[in-house]
Amino acid sequence: MFTKDRIAKVLAGSAAAALLTCGASASHADEIIKLGLSIPLSGAAANWGKGSEWLCNAAAKEVADAGGVKVGGKVYNYKCVAYDNKYNAAEGTKVAQTLLNRDGIRFIGGSLGTAPVKALQSLSEREGALHFTTAWGSSIKGPKFPLTFTIMNTVNEISFPLTRYVKEANPSIKTVSLLNPNDATGQETEALARKAWTAAGVQVISSDWYDRGTTEFQPIASKMAAAKADVIDLASTPPADSGVVFKELKVLGWKGVQAVQVGTGAEGIIATGGAAVDGTYMGAAMVFDSALTTPKQKKLNDAAKAAIGESLNSVQISFYDSVMALKAAMEASQSIDPKLVAAALPTVKFESFYGVASGFGGKDVYGTPQQILIPVIVTQIKNGKLTEVRRIVSEEMKQRK
């Protein structure tokens, strides 16, 4: 029987339980650290942004499942907050204002695109926010920017070992033609690619530019084919565009060594280039079905593929690594003060997506240790499949081990 007393007891119990739950939630909410993301979520680069956000969330969940970030007797968890920078400086500025001034975020878990990243950096350094970025430009690093950390291999790390490897594998090559998108990323890549090929003993005979969003590549393919270079390096050209260029080059009868120095993923280039991209070398792509692939990498990639429709690329992977690096630095410094965490970052080691103990270095190159230390993975497309042909570990990384 439901007596009045019993109903009253049940109600009182329920109220007490509800209050306790609310209290627990409130204390849980106090321990959330927001990680701001400035990424493209619309336009041609939207999938890069979507994958980046997905991996940030996956890493945050992994941290939470492992017991959170333990600092000063408290447990913190991460929450990724993403805004669309549309891959341009104007939107990047708006995102910077929103993240840092409106939301009061003090940790940027990742930013994508040199132009919007520069816009964000100008504010994050002033506001004392720690900023992880995937932007390749070396101009964003150095003693002037103590709170900025690059979380993926950039052209500086990739270009020289990759060109050296391609020259070793194809000793007869003597000339190269370059193609890059005409923006900050392309311009910085071109300058370094030029130096790297020259250092490898290969002469750069032409270097061309195109605007992102271009859909017709026949004219530039005709020009590059006419130059008759031994190598065509599409450097920072996105994978899908690269596939189209190589396809047009094959129709025009050009035969030679193909490279996309900072090619980040194989699916786009294979989808658009088909058989024409066979043999292409890339310096920033990741293979997910080799003997070296770990079960964790495979699991994350399969889940990401189901969510975003394509395999993860090295840009997106960086958003996982930034979360792991931040956790390690917070626990090492026992602080959530961005400046103290930044000071601890060069001293910590953490397990990156690549399955190795990573850290930050590059002081000799950039003046301060702000560059993630991970291996350069040289890949080649063989019979329509991406294969790893060499894993190059830098001297600094070897010394760290």
């Binding site: 619309s42 336009g43 041609a44 939207a46 999938n47 979507k50 005409n182 061309d208 530019w209 195109y210 605007d211 969003g213 271009t214 859909t215 017709e216 590549f217 026949q218 004219p219 530039i220 005709s222 020009k223 006419a226 899908a240 565009d241 596939g243 189209v244 129709v251 025009l252 009868g253 699916e267 786009g268 989808a271 658009t272 088909g274 975003i308 429709g309 394509e310």
Partner: protein
């Protein structure tokens, strides 16, 4: 000589798709006196649908060519239906209203691009080659597929030209484009012609998208590049002028082809904008535009 021929053929191939695209833009302006920036979205939808349907049909054992034709028919039909919806619930109320239609069409661009991104995903899509192999014409190598699709675009353009010049509907559209009030006084049903004109324009954009799908990389933002080029072509040729759109499209394709070869695509694009400025300084209404 061979280089010149290669560049000419390249220009014709690129130009054939630009023509189809810009004809739709100019037709809408001619009849309704509005600039439809959402035109590229119908084009994109058609290409996206082809890229989804061809592999689906192929997976269900339909041979590639029939699969493509079937996919193209469905894609064009769906795109035209979407165009009609936007007309019925939007553009119909903004005829001869440049600023109103501008805001509406920009809003539609954002809405539809977001929807495509959500439903089709951001990953690039491709259509398997419908016709394999290359052909050599006067020493210039072209893919059979590009050649055939270029020819299809030329046939579609020819058909439109014939409709406009010979049929009663075409004549009515031209009359409305010249002076809609005078046309109405002659008994031409303006509203019906505007509706049908919008439908034909959307059809052209959708056909261009379906034709382009097998030779291009398809993404939800595909229409943006074509919209800019198509719009420039229409400005150069003269807003509302059908021959102007054809000339403008070929002009842009030639600059792109020659500029891209002798300089680079970035400079070719810059040259296009400079030439547009020069044309507008000399002929503010375009090469064949009317006041």
């Amino acid at each position: 000589m061979q280089t010149a021929l290669q560049l000419l053929f390249t220009a014709l191939q690129i130009g054939s798709i630009y023509i189809l695209f810009s004809l739709g833009l100019t037709l809408i302006f001619g009849v309704m006196k509005i600039v439809n920036f959402a035109h590229g979205q119908f084009f994109t939808l058609s290409a996206l649908l082809v890229s989804v349907l061809v592999p689906w049909f192929a997976h269900h054992d339909v041979p590639l060519l029939p699969a493509y034709l079937l996919a193209a028919v469905i894609a064009v039909a769906v795109s035209v239906a979407l165009g009609m919806l936007t007309y019925q619930f939007g553009f119909r109320f903004f005829q001869r209203d440049l600023s109103g239609s501008f805001i509406l069409s920009i809003g539609l661009v954002l809405l539809l691009e977001g929807a495509y991104l959500h439903y089709f995903g951001g990953a690039v899509r491709t259509v398997p080659p419908i016709i394999a192999g290359d052909v050599s014409i006067l020493g210039v190598t072209l893919t059979s597929q590009r050649l055939l699709l270029g020819l299809a675009a030329i046939v579609a353009t020819g058909a439109l030209y014939w409709i406009l010049m010979v049929t009663q509907f075409g004549k009515a559209m031209r009359a409305v484009a010249i002076d809609h009030e005078a046309a109405m006084l002659q008994g031409i049903p303006f509203k019906r012609i505007a509706f049908q004109g919008f439908a034909v324009a959307t059809l052209l954009g959708a056909v261009a998208g379906a034709l382009l799908a097998p030779i291009s990389v398809i993404s939800p933002t595909l229409g943006a590049d074509y919209l800019i080029k198509g719009f420039i072509a229409v400005i150069i040729g003269g807003l509302g002028s059908v021959p102007g759109a054809i000339i403008g499209s070929l002009f842009i394709a030639l600059v792109e082809s020659i500029g891209g070869f002798y300089f680079d695509p970035s400079i070719a694009n810059l040259t296009i904008f400079i030439l547009v400025m020069l044309v507008l300084m000399v002929r503010p209404h375009g090469l064949l535009g009317n006041r």
